[in-house]
Subunit: 309 residues, 2 copies
């Protein structure tokens, strides 16, 4: 791969769906000249107007087939539930040799929802840049989002090596470290590191929402004791997350089962006043925190919207 | 109350236990001259050496009765489980007119663990400055910790009004807004905003700790998808949190019951692929996030250790 920042990696990149991730990617492609041309595709004119206003693309369209015409890279960035329909809609525009990748949080599902609908000669390289904030939409993106984070690629056996390398190089240019992984394994890892934590955050914020009036107002007021972090996570895009849970159902239910068992055990320890058991669990979890810090993954991204909404 | 920053509010302040909260308070008292003298009391010489090294107190001792002698304000900052013993140990040194307050996360228990052991003429004003980080120990404190946060005071009916005012003024000088509340009500609010979130974070990090070897390493590596925030919360002091759960048992179990029911409902929705139900819950929780932002409670404290451990 050409390491020269001046040389474009791709000729024409089509971004299908342009939220936090794809708009951040667009900013980097523009800033570093990683492609000669960017086309953005979204469902609504309102989003596309925003994209034009922000100068994130050379052209915009609501038609996926138009967007992908002559593209050598297509990046799916819609909610997972739209993958199949979008792929069917863009298929007629795809040219042989084109690479199709994505940025979704679930990977095994692409074999079912995307691969069967791609024309012969198109390379599928499923990808997941593990980075994000609770904000969504093209205005939420920023070029530093991916720096120092991991990107997982889950190409099926037999995928064209050059296609895989080109996608890997794109994410490296965004500041990420790339790791190959089996799709099903990725989905298990993400179930525990991302999907279940989000479900739990949504749950407890929901529990608080259902409290009696007075108590609910006070929950907001006194949220600095830990609840604040959960409200941030639970402020994430509802459509995207609905689709994550529907798509990664098995792995999420499996990890949720383990979590629930562990919670029952701690609940019993509280009920029985078993202080030593509580202490041991609380002490042991510090190890993982140290691991996260050692891996350099403890610093949240500093986005333009970090101090507001 | 005298608003002149130069005039001390107290003559001699005794800090019993000197972790994150009391050491932050010491830094402010010193910086703004809020007391003529600070005495720090801790169980171990090591902590007291650190206190001396950091210049946080004029004198140090391991003996609570010595620490509180001639003090007009005593601030309990030990784990909740030590309150009774510390109070019994310091009682002989307390002088009539002295105010005893604390910084613990549970308040109703002071009526049981502290009030009965105080000599006649000593004023008890339970307090909870709702602020914190996951770091502990005297070196973790910083003077800005309390700025813009809430402090709850839960004095029993009939408590001396001047004593309550003096404690309130101290926290106002630290940048806090003070609110009076019934102790049992405080404990309910904190169960949902702080205690249950911490228990959940400890649980899921524990669940991850129990994963098979490979998977566990990857959990640390790919923690940027949400898990990171939980490891931060679960890195908090295990003794302090053990005592919170043992002390606020009833309210925690009550809120945990509600949370568990709600989690079961979401789990069932995932199993049954009920997308609309998931969407509705995820959409509704954004309201609370907006409330937290409107209340100005969404920005985490910027401590000296925020980028490391």
């Amino acid at each position: 791969m050409d390491k020269n920042l001046g040389a474009p990696l791709f000729d024409r990149v089509a971004l299908i769906g342009i939220g936090l991730i794809n708009s951040s990617l667009a900013r980097i492609i523009r800033r570093d000249g990683l492609a000669r041309e960017i086309t953005a595709c979204a469902r609504t004119r309102r989003t596309l107007d925003k994209v034009k206003e922000l100068g994130l693309a050379d052209s915009v369209t609501t038609d996926p087939a138009v967007a992908v015409a002559k593209a050598d890279l297509v990046v799916l960035g819609t909610p997972l539930g739209a993958y199949r329909e979008v792929t069917e809609n863009m298929a007629s525009g795809l040219e042989p040799g084109c690479i199709v990748t994505d940025v979704g949080s679930v990977k095994a599902c692409l074999e079912r929802d995307v691969a069967p609908f791609l024309p012969e000669g198109v390379h599928l390289v499923p990808g997941h840049p593990i980075a994000g904030t609770e904000h969504s939409g093209p205005e939420a993106g920023f070029a530093e989002l991916f720096e120092g984070r991991w990107c997982v690629l889950t190409p099926a056996q037999g995928t064209d090596g050059v296609a895989v390398d080109r996608v890997a190089e794109l994410w490296r240019r965004c500041g990420m470290t790339v790791q190959m992984m089996d799709g099903a394994h990725h989905d298990k890892v993400l179930a525990i590191t991302s999907h279940v934590p989000h479900l739990i955050a949504y749950t407890i914020v929901g529990t608080a929402t259902d409290l009696e009036g007075d108590l609910r107002d006070e929950v907001v007021k006194f949220s600095a004791g830990g609840f604040r972090d959960f409200t941030r996570i639970a402020g994430s895009d509802p459509t995207m997350w609905r689709d994550v849970f529907l798509t990664n159902r098995e792995a999420v239910l499996e990890m949720l089962g383990r979590f629930s068992e562990d919670l029952v055990a701690l609940r019993r320890a509280i009920r029985r006043s078993e202080g030593q058991l509580l202490y041991d669990v609380f002490d042991r979890t510090r190890e993982i925190r140290r691991g996260v810090i050692d891996a350099g993954q403890h610093i949240p991204p500093k986005g333009p919207k970090d101090n507001g909404d």
